[in-house]
């Protein structure tokens, strides 16, 4: 019997979070009071789906629009166009932001700038409780704060302290606790470990793995480090200049990447092993990532692509499923 609770658990295979044709254009320069100026197409029509309990990795280099995508999903920035549906709720058009934020939480990259320096840890964690769980008594809130701090590896003694008394890794734990205190269902993590030291990075990655189990979370994990993503995420989407160029289950992406950009990206990651390093062949890309302000015509990757042909210059390739669950936006990959 397929019970209702099972359906609620999301085992039906239905997408839990579904993003369709998402766009975010930012105006640039000083707009005059009336006219409209140029726009940067930070996110230009991306679509993906996430099943319950999955961690989707969103990888790309700086300026590819991964962070903007993350913020737009939670409407921390308003999308220009597109549709976001989360657990049956129309995120793009809802007016009930509180209901939305209670379920979907964001974790910021920089634990130094994401905590108000003038607030104690207790007040930082109490803020979402005041907003989302107004009916709770103060002592219940305090119990929940202590409990959440313990889940992320801190103790009740830390409640009265201020952010500057903590190290980077501990601050990121506080930030995680703030996002978790109301038991959200989806977390969008924006490079939560990239500001941390190597030994602390591992602690936070392991913590995220554990929290995902304990809270039954689904996640969108944004990162530039392919190795970190590999350890945490499945499936993985690779972004380049505002678009997804490849999306695939984890094993396939790393073992047989289809898009030439993904291939170059993977080959550029140095491996901490000198023996393997001597054999590694780096596929060096020429030039820099172009500015999203005047993105190249056709396939945005064609000026740097070793395979680029005539059609790549003229037409923009669509994301097509080439193997089951593995799609790439590349003419060459589609017809080898």
């Amino acid at each position: 019997m397929v019970s209702l609770s099972e359906k609620k658990q999301g085992y039906s295979g239905e997408p839990y979070l579904s993003v369709t044709g998402l766009k975010k254009y930012f105006p640039v320069g000083r707009r005059s009071l009336t006219g409209k100026g140029a726009v940067v197409k930070a996110v230009d029509g991306i679509s993906f789906q996430l099943k319950k309990g999955q961690i989707l990795g969103l990888v790309g280099e700086s300026g590819c629009g991964k962070t903007t995508t993350g913020r737009t999903i939670l409407r921390l920035i308003e999308p220009t166009d597109g549709n976001i549906v989360f657990d049956g709720m129309d995120v793009t058009h809802t007016r009930d932001m509180k209901a939305l934020r209670k379920k979907m939480q964001f974790v910021f990259q920089d634990p130094y700038s994401s905590l108000n320096p003038r607030m104690s840890i207790f007040r930082i964690l109490k803020e979402p409780l005041d907003n989302f769980m107004g009916h709770m008594s103060r002592s219940d809130k305090k119990d929940l704060v202590v409990q959440t701090l313990q889940t992320v590896g801190l103790t009740a003694d830390h409640m009265g302290r201020f952010p500057h008394e903590f190290s980077g890794g501990q601050r990121q734990r506080v930030a995680l606790a703030r996002s978790l205190v109301c038991s959200p269902e989806l977390m969008v993590c924006d490079e939560p470990v990239s500001a941390l030291d190597v030994s602390i990075q591992a602690q936070v990655i392991n913590l995220l793995k554990r929290l995902k189990q304990e809270y039954n979370l689904s996640m969108v994990f944004i990162a530039h480090d392919l190795a970190v993503v590999e350890h945490l995420c499945d499936p993985i989407a690779v972004m380049y200049l505002g678009g997804i160029v490849e999306i695939s289950p984890k094993e396939e992406l790393y073992s047989s990447p289809l898009h030439p950009y993904t291939q170059a990206l993977l080959s550029a990651v140095p491996i901490p092993d000198p023996v393997l390093e001597r054999q590694r062949k780096v596929q060096l890309l020429t030039g820099d990532v172009p500015s999203p302000l005047n993105a190249p015509s056709g396939c945005t990757f064609h000026p740097r692509c070793p395979l680029a042909g005539e059609e790549c210059r003229l037409q923009r390739p669509q994301l097509v499923e080439i193997r089951p669950g593995h799609s790439a936006a590349c003419f060459k990959a589609a017809s080898p």
Binding site: L33, R71, L74, L76, M97, K98, R101, K102, Q105, F106, F108, Q109, D110, S113, S114, L115, N116, P117, R118, M119, E127, P128, N131, F132, H164, A175, R178, S179
Partner: protein
Amino acid sequence: MLIKRVLKNKLALPGLLVVVFVILASLFASHVAPFDPLKLSLSKRIQAPFDEHVFGTDHFGRDILSRVLYGGRVSLMVGVLSVLFASIVGIILGATGGYFGGKIDYAIVLVLDALMSFPPLLLTIGLMAVMGQGVKNIVIAMALSSIPTYGRVVRGAVLSIRQKEYIEAARNAGSGDLKIIFLHVLPNTIAPLIVVTTMGVASAILTEAALSFVGLGVPGPDPSWGNILADGRDYISQAPWITIFPGLAITLTVLGFNLLGDGLRDVLDPKLKQ
């Protein structure tokens, strides 16, 4: 913690001592002053200092020391009140404009810039000429002409704090605009604001003195530092003490507030924290 750092600072501590001394002296003027500041005594006209009257007397035989002490009440009150009003209005305008941006910000910047296009002293004099003399009107005129200073400082600070991730984090935690402004934005603008208001009191005291000196300030016979100076103007060659002592009081007070402001700038600098 903050007090400890103020006491350690080489600028803030002397500034604080001077300011506290001046405030106490004015506050307890009625206990400290040896004479009635308004009492005329024709027999004691223009007496040199350090005799019966420590600071001497003026052309009506009034005791200068007592007048300087009582005058301090008026001058300090005018200075503090005008800065208080100006900074409250400045905080409201600056925070609104800086936080919301867009057309509201454009309108507020326009108003502040328009106010700033007049030299502040001339603007104050013009306003006084329209509204007439009186302590209340001085406070209003001086407050109006210094609103842009505070508005701009607060707007600048809010603009930089708005960029911080903890503001976005607060929105992510479900807080609304008003809550974000009061809980996250304003507490973090306090540091630069304290510095400008402290120094603002100093310049307000100078403005009050200038206004009273040209006869647009606090009306006599009630003393203020400015009108004691003005009173002594005609006797400056025979009885320089009438102008010297209120002048010294102004200098000392302004110096005190400025030192305190400079010291607080160092003390509140987040880079020196840790």
